[in-house]
Symmetry: C2
Subunit: 336 residues, 2 copies
């Protein structure tokens, strides 16, 4: 509003008169204001809404679905957030907007929602800047490089990776590789979840005196098959694989099988941040670190609504994935 008034060289009150048609304003002034609104990308009723500053009781979850695959595990965040919103008499809608913040800003300007839940947060995320500069209440699922003081909930990657490696070490594994996702674009190289999980793996290996072997592959079965081949070639002594790339996990199993390497007899496989449903689709059923999506979606809405309605903010910010034993991990093969 202030922007419109400034650009037209009039007071906010005068803008309000024009928008709401509440007082006669000279044609020239009206034209200046309408031009300013057009230039700034406002529409009349959006401005009306902003002036009324009423609530819509709608929350949006911003997910860059055209850039980053929205799989069934990610959907658990959406559905749990929608349920939590519904219980508080809010609607939750999904905005499949890019990570660059442009479309997000356009939608925010329309005054359609009371607040935003951000997913797939980058370490340096243009959407966070857009939210802060427009004064939009928000909560992140994920976090930027330095999230202190910002409203977020996230997976505790350190605890998750430690539990995964505890499990594998207890089975006697010492040569453990980590397979993460190849970013769909350069932008996603700084995807918080990927960077933090890899760092957690490196740190945990170091503390255990293990060599951290890290590979990347595309987010599909073909990527997993390729990664399996690369691993057998470059690191034939590997006895266990931790993978955070749920669609590729299926390819790792079949890729190993096609080279005569059996899961779990020859190589154990543990899939991180996935769902039991996905794990059960593989044969053998995957041992997983289960994504806390159903909890984090809910916590994020609670955190957002604490800003809107003054309720209590959740005390928990970080939740680990939990180990669910399947059939894909077993004692390390004793080498001849």
């Amino acid at each position: 509003m202030r922007e419109v008034a400034e650009r037209a060289g009039v007071s906010i009150a005068t803008v309000s008169f024009v928008v709401n048609n509440t007082k006669p304003v000279s044609p020239a002034t009206r034209e200046r204001i309408e031009a300013a609104m057009a230039e700034l990308g406002f529409r009349r009723n959006v401005v009306a809404r902003a002036l009324a500053s009423r609530r819509t009781r709608i929350l949006a979850m911003a997910y860059p679905a055209l850039q980053h695959r929205l799989g069934s595990t990610a959907m658990s965040f959406v559905t749990s957030a929608a349920s939590a919103a519904s219980e508080r008499e809010y609607h939750l809608v999904l905005w499949p907007v890019d990570n660059d913040g442009v479309e997000l800003t356009e939608l925010i300007r329309q005054g359609l929602v009371d607040g935003i839940v951000l997913m797939e947060v980058l370490l340096d995320d243009a959407r966070v800047d857009a939210l802060i500069s427009t004064g939009t209440p928000y909560a992140m699922i994920g976090r930027t490089a330095d999230p202190a003081g910002l409203p977020y909930v996230d997976i505790d990657f350190d605890a998750t990776v430690d539990t995964a490696l505890d499990h594998l070490q207890s089975l006697g594994h010492r040569e453990i590789a980590f397979v993460s996702e190849r970013p769909p674009s350069e932008e996603f190289r700084a995807y918080g979840a990927k960077v933090r999980a890899e760092a957690a793996f490196r740190g945990s290996c170091e503390r255990r005196g293990l060599e951290p072997i890290i590979l990347e592959c595309a987010q599909n079965a073909a990527g997993g098959r390729k990664a399996a081949g690369e691993l057998l070639q470059a690191r034939p002594r590997t006895t266990a694989v931790v993978i955070m790339n749920e669609h590729a996990a299926f390819g790792v199993v079949s890729g190993l099988a096609r080279s005569g390497v059996r899961v779990p007899e020859d190589v154990s496989l543990l899939s991180v941040s996935t769902s039991s449903d996905m794990g059960a689709m593989a044969d053998p059923v995957l041992t997983i670190m289960r994504s806390p999506g159903i909890h984090l979606g809910r916590l994020a809405v609670q955190l957002l609504l604490s800003q809107l309605d003054g309720g209590e903010a959740p005390s928990t910010r970080l939740l680990p994935c939990e180990l669910h034993q399947g059939e894909s991990t077993a004692p390390a093969r004793v080498r001849g």
Copy 2:
């Protein structure tokens, strides 16, 4: 608007004066109008928007994600619709609202969007009634029992099933079972896609002189494993399975394998209305009838925008799934 005016016993013009604060109205009248708005669930700026009848340039895709699983194949409809909307300078958002039409109507009343794309259409769908009675432009992906004259695009299930059976018959299969999804709730028993696919299978089998064997199972791997067991028990002579339940397909493969039945050597498996990515996750890679999601999402947006902007409506309404040969279908086993 007319509802508000009628309930308050005033003219639409008087409602407009109160909402836009354009003319003095007696406190008693104002109170009556505000009470009527509150009772009818309108908010001031929503009414203002309706009066202004401006466009938001936002389309919503209504998907009952809390009732019906939104898998990666369904997501292809969403992402292609979002791309198509974006090319026409519209935003597309996803509303995860139930099939009963209640939340959809609430959101429509807010005047947030110019039109709606409906997914997971039931044969008798309360959402269609809500859209028609509120005069909201819409397009269905899917169709009701009698969609003549309604705006829809859909999968051509007759052509799809015929192609699938042609493929299997050409490989010598005569004992062919169809596995569809068990509805997540009774409401989804009348899910258009399920009903039409089963009817197409029955019809095509009849024309071919084959016995139509139809099973249902839950939409997950455990469901597929159970279905495999039931099939081997009840119909041991089955040599081919057509499945329209993509998550369960994985369970069918592993369920058969655990009973010593190999795909495709002993039983062929063909997965209908799925994506190449999903098919590649299975081992063996599934032969699929590929979902035309990337085309139908786009056609639905085109059909909706033809109502909003007067552009041309697409001439194509029905698209079949296309056969993509994988490793899961092979010549019928010759029985001893």
